[in-house]
């Protein structure tokens, strides 16, 4: 299966799409040792600023660098325009859908989504039914994973509507590229991403509870420095200019949330929380959670604090619900989806299950509740045993799985041991929804599968990242 290469357009190594013209010349004319020097400078930069992530279950190295590729990925302004419109549309629909699910449930009544798929779903939060969230917005920060398959088509691979991570890499990748290759930026008109923190802060402030307070206090709640995304939490708090709090820094009194400060308790209005629903409040959810704040959910129900994202958004990024997104967009917005879903078989349907079992070696099978590339079968690369294991799993619990064709993810030129070679990529743009509208910063996080032929871009499985350039003109 030939993948679409974003530099040569699938027309062979001598061809070049217009947007990549200058970059291709640069790759051809720059001596190899210059690239090697720049790569080690980039690595030094990332190591020194401490941008690391933890791999769960890996006791040896608790902190690791995600490999960074110095060749940027290019998207034209026209292409981006369509993507941005599609993302805005999709996230608007997601928010309307969530408000409806936890409110009147008209979409269920109209048969748009099967009620049992929602009401029996572990991500559906009964506690949220009838809770009025500030400004009716649930998913303030979404990370929508896209894959490109040809000149014109971006598919949505999944919606991350809980606590999507990776935006710090988008920002730091740009920072390091501007330090290392100022001459490339002089030749290209690259749309800036540096305003993301400002946009995020504006979004968070816009959704503060209506208490009449002019200057709402925002804080970022982290599980702490042993969390895999801790670097990102501290980086964002710094960029936003807000306190980075752990559960032990917060206290709830009379349904109001306060931080413990050197000057005594200080009221918090908006909490950008990077802790899963389950761990937020031991009184409301998992009683064994030591990461949570007792009473936080009570304060939330009382309308005294905004949580971003809202509790219960997991129902919208459930992989089974994902398959209904086209219908959801049509129902709530009366529009055709601009960005398509990857064609998907819902294994809960008997016919689909039969097809999936018959074509297992051609398909990608995903657990409905899995994330990070764990619990996934890539049919064409699987061993016989892996196929059999998944066959048994599918028969045992069909509704726990979806299947998709093995997509020919587009490739981009990437530095590997043998030189510059095409590697598969995806794209995670970040979409912000506030009381004052939707904001999308041009670009996002491009993840690249560094192993030849590999389609798995997750950092926990050997993926790397690239800077993503949206080019004007």
């Amino acid at each position: 299966m030939a993948a679409f290469d974003e530099m040569d357009g699938g027309q062979g190594p001598d061809a070049c799409r217009a947007a990549y013209g200058k970059l291709k010349r640069w790759l051809a004319t720059t001596p190899r040792d210059v690239f090697d020097a720049r790569r080690s400078q980039a690595e030094l930069f990332f190591r020194r600023i401490g941008i690391t992530f933890a791999v769960y279950g890996d006791a040896e190295t608790t902190e690791r660098l995600i490999p960074f590729d110095i060749i940027p990925r290019v998207i034209t302004r026209d292409e981006w325009g369509r993507v941005e419109a599609g993302l805005t549309q999709r996230v608007k629909a997601l928010n309307l859908f969530l408000a409806d699910l936890y409110g009147p449930q008209t979409a269920l009544a109209a048969g748009i989504v099967p009620p049992e798929l929602i009401l029996r779903n572990e991500h559906y939060r009964l506690e949220m039914q009838g809770v009025a969230v500030p400004h009716g917005i649930y998913c303030h920060i979404a990370g929508i994973d896209l894959v490109r398959v040809d000149e014109d088509t971006f598919y949505v691979l999944e919606d991350n509507a809980r606590t999507p991570s990776g935006v710090s890499y988008m920002l730091e990748n740009r920072e390091v590229m501007m330090r290392l290759f100022p001459e490339l930026f002089a030749q290209h008109r690259v749309a800036p991403v540096e305003n993301y923190p400002d946009a995020l802060l504006a979004t968070l402030r816009s959704v503060a509870p209506n208490t009449g307070k002019k200057d709402p206090t925002v804080a970022l709640l982290t599980p702490g420095q042993y969390n895999s995304a801790y670097y990102e939490h501290s980086f964002l708090a710094d960029q936003l200019g807000v306190e980075l709090v752990e559960a032990s820094d917060l206290v709830v009194r009379e349904d109001r949330v306060y931080m413990r400060t050197t000057e005594g308790p200080k009221r918090v209005d908006v909490l950008y929380r990077r802790i899963d629903d389950d761990f937020l409040d031991p009184l409301a959810f998992r009683p064994d959670s030591v990461l949570g704040v007792p009473g936080l959910f009570g304060a939330y129900q009382a309308g005294n604090i905004t949580l971003a994202n809202a509790v219960g958004t997991g129902i919208a990024d459930d992989k089974a619900v994902y398959t209904y997104m086209p219908e959801i967009i049509r129902f709530f917005l009366g529009e055709e989806p601009i960005l398509k879903n990857v064609p998907t078989w819902r294994c809960r349907d008997e016919e689909a299950l039969k097809y999936v079992l018959d074509h297992l070696s051609e398909l990608v099978v995903k657990e409905v509740n899995g994330s990070g590339g764990y619990g996934m079968l890539v049919g064409p690369h699987a061993t016989k045993e892996q196929l059999e294991t998944f066959r048994r799993k599918l028969k045992h619990d069909p509704s726990g799985f979806i299947a998709q064709p093995t997509l020919a993810l587009s490739t981009c030129p990437t530095f590997v041991a043998s030189g510059v070679a095409p590697r598969h990529v995806d794209l995670r743009p970040f979409v912000l929804s506030g009381a004052d509208g939707v904001r999308v910063v041009p670009g996002g996080l491009t993840r690249v599968a560094l192993k030849e032929g590999s389609l798995v871009v997750n950092s926990s499985q050997g993926g790397g990242t690239k800077d993503t350039w949206v080019l004007d003109g």
Binding site: R47, R48, I49, G50, G224, Q225, Y230, Y231, S234, F235, A237, D238, E243, L244, V245, E246, S248, D249, M259, R260, T261, T262, E263
Partner: protein
Amino acid sequence: MLSRTANSLFWLFRYTERADFIARILDATVRLAALPTSYGERNEWESALEAAGSAEIFREHYGAVTEDTVRDFLAFSPHNPSSIRSCLERARTNARAVRTALTLEMWETINGAWLELKKYRNADMSREDFARFLEWVKSVSLDFDGSAYRTMLRNDAYYFTRLGVSIERADNTARILDVKYHVLLPPTERVGGSLDYFQWTTILREVQAHTAYHWVYRESVKPWLVADLLILNKQMPRSLACCYESLVRHLDLVADLYGRRGPAQRHASDCAARLSAMRIEEVFGRGLHQWVTEFIIDNNKLGSAIADQYLT
């Protein structure tokens, strides 16, 4: 600011200051131990343990007190919470917990040191390597404190870092004075003899006060003048009087900012006033060791008062 942030900043600076202090003790001990044995049997390595305040933990993990075991324990042992390695690791853990309260320069210094630290192992270190290692530790503390001084906003975060440095340094200066007490003079040596002189001079060198001593007193090294310099002289940045001047100043700045004074402010100014009014004869009248021991206890009480008032 968050109490936890203030607490981490306070300890971050205590640990980097302490790493520097342990490096200086080790340096001093190597120098003292290098004296020819014709001066008699001595116990510099034992005294280094005593001065570091960690002799008890040492005995739990090591047998004989030798250059090798003490070096390992004070510089590298994970069992010793005040070993140089533990100090730099804890400093980095605290730094990481308050990453957003640090400037990039500060973070790069402490994180860089933590990465570099992994390269050093006691096992394959010659005396020369070890001396270079100690120089490196001192330069880390210097770089770190310097980067804070040059780049931090002068707000409450900065004040808490100064409180951490000053309270740790007061403790350390008191302990280094005590080293002399623990280095027992061999019976054949008289007080004021050449060995005695060498020991006091070494202490001065280790706190970078040798030249200052001559500028201030214009005399040969005498024990009570060394003590005067390190305890009462406000011009001497390591002296207890100078540390307490800094503690009072920064606690007052915090109190002004928050509009409230508390037990920590009172405790610090009482102690500073006592130091101001004191003469060195009183210290020796009481016995230097006795006086230093009481000072260390009182200094710890101020640490607790600061913690109660701001850090929890």
